[in-house]
């Protein structure tokens, strides 16, 4: 498995990571080596098993729909780089 420059650019955009040209090349080579190592998964027979997403096997943990106090707007906005009134503020979506 070898990742092309286009593959790296595509994945970086999916991950919203702006990477320098140097980083792209270095990451490409490193990911190739890691994926090569990972290919040993193919040796494990998994034809008879289901996937594990959660080791405890919990599904759909519900609670009663009872209102409780929650965070204040001020607390939620307290770490925002920019806000306007009770909203997070961002640049224009283009």
């Amino acid at each position: 498995m070898t990742l092309s420059a286009d593959d790296i650019a595509h994945v970086a955009m999916l991950a919203r990571l702006g990477l320098s040209e140097d980083e792209r090349q270095r990451l490409g080579a490193q990911l190739d080596a890691i994926l090569e190592h990972i290919s040993r998964l193919d040796k494990v027979d998994t034809s008879q098993v289901a996937e594990t997403a959660h080791v405890g096997g919990l599904v759909n943990v519900w609670r009663e729909d009872e209102p409780e106090p929650s965070q204040s707007v001020d607390a939620a906005l307290g770490n925002a780089p920019d806000h306007d009134g009770t909203y997070f503020r961002v640049g224009a979506i283009q």
Partner: protein, 490 residues
Amino acid sequence: MTASSLDTVAGCAAALRAGTVSARELLAASRDALQATDSRIGAFLARTDDLAEQQAAEADRRLRESPHDASPLCGVPVAIKDVICLEGVETTAGSRILAGFRPPYTATALQRLLAAGAVVVGKTNCDEFAMGSSTENSAFRPVNNPWDIERVPGGSSGGSAAAVAASVVPYSLGSDTGGSIRQPASLTGVVGFKPTYGRVSRYGLIAFASSLDQIGPFAHTVEDIALVYSVIAGHDPRDSTSAPEPLEDALSGLGDGVAGMRLGVPREYFVAGLEDGVRRGVEDAMKVLEGLGARLEEVSLPSTDAALSTYYIVAPAECSSNLARFDGIRHGLREGGESVLQMYLRTRDTGFGAEVKRRVMLGTYALSSGYYDAYYRKAQRVRTVIAEEFARVFEQVDALVCPTSPTVAFRLGAREDPLSMYLCDALTIPVNLAGLPGISVPCGMVDGLPVGLQVIAPRFADARALRVAHAYQQATDWHSLRSPLARLAA
């Protein structure tokens, strides 16, 4: 140098009740130790002096008014890994992208310590977002091993391990996703415990890989570990993955010993890459357990070799999704751009370090269209195979004993190739994939560097893992050795 009574939780608790020391004096001693050692270790990212003063004064009041009701942790100093949120106190996860972040709430595990009267000395250094095995991936500075400052303390909870190894605090909290408590405990000669997945709430733990992350303690003795675990463990409605099963008492059976227990020795954990000194230390520890009446038998976990690969799909996949929230909008760093997209790209490029980018890329790739089945789905299936192999072995034996880390502490900068760093966790990762409890206890020294013995138990048999480790400590003295830096702290 050997232990002083005030560098264990139990020792502090006894002295506080005997009135020979106050919580304020313990705090002052902890600060002095930090001052004397931390420029050489780098275990701490932030001190919480004002908060600690208040907590110590309050603890002294509780101990004075109702000494018998107070928790053993009341008035005892603690250090907290900087991935665990403390309301109003900067929490960075070792990352530039969170520099300045002050959480609006406190993690449940830490809240339980505070309710017990703990005194928080500071937040400890770690690999960025807990991704690493040496603490060299901290965006702020690497951590040095108190046994040899030219070597790493392991990671990712290297600061929490080093703070205990240097006797700055008697205990600390870390987090373990693939070995991040046990491996640094092994490399710094302290005890480190990763509870069963779901036992300790993850609420307020900055997420790396949610199906694997678990908070746990570091200390010098298993007794201390059991005291801390008993306080932090238990169901939390705020973490939907927290286990509803009733919590067993980890303290009452701690001293029951290992006579008649069947301990499995997984042969796949004694393979190429295991240093001779580590092998000798662990084999000697097994003889000690045998001398205490345990029956040792070789067992096989055939898919051990696939665990590392499974982990390096599952953990990066979850990390790429968890770290999507760092978008420059709600908290932390924002690097401006002409559009929102430009802002995302620049913020994440500037804010994340090399290892985090590598894992986000790997995880995004494994989840991307066309590769999902080949990587992510396959890895989740192999995860099932690994968990089933453990379950089968536990029909035959009560617990497993093996090395924690294949090597002793290595030199800073010695593992620049990512894959060689990943191999550090080959013997701890399977435990996270299966959601089991695992503990590392000091079991030897090689050229002045500590070796760790790992004890692994079935899910929810946390008390059994502690009992085996405690029996070993009662028969040996390795946990009483102190690092050269701890001498400075004394």
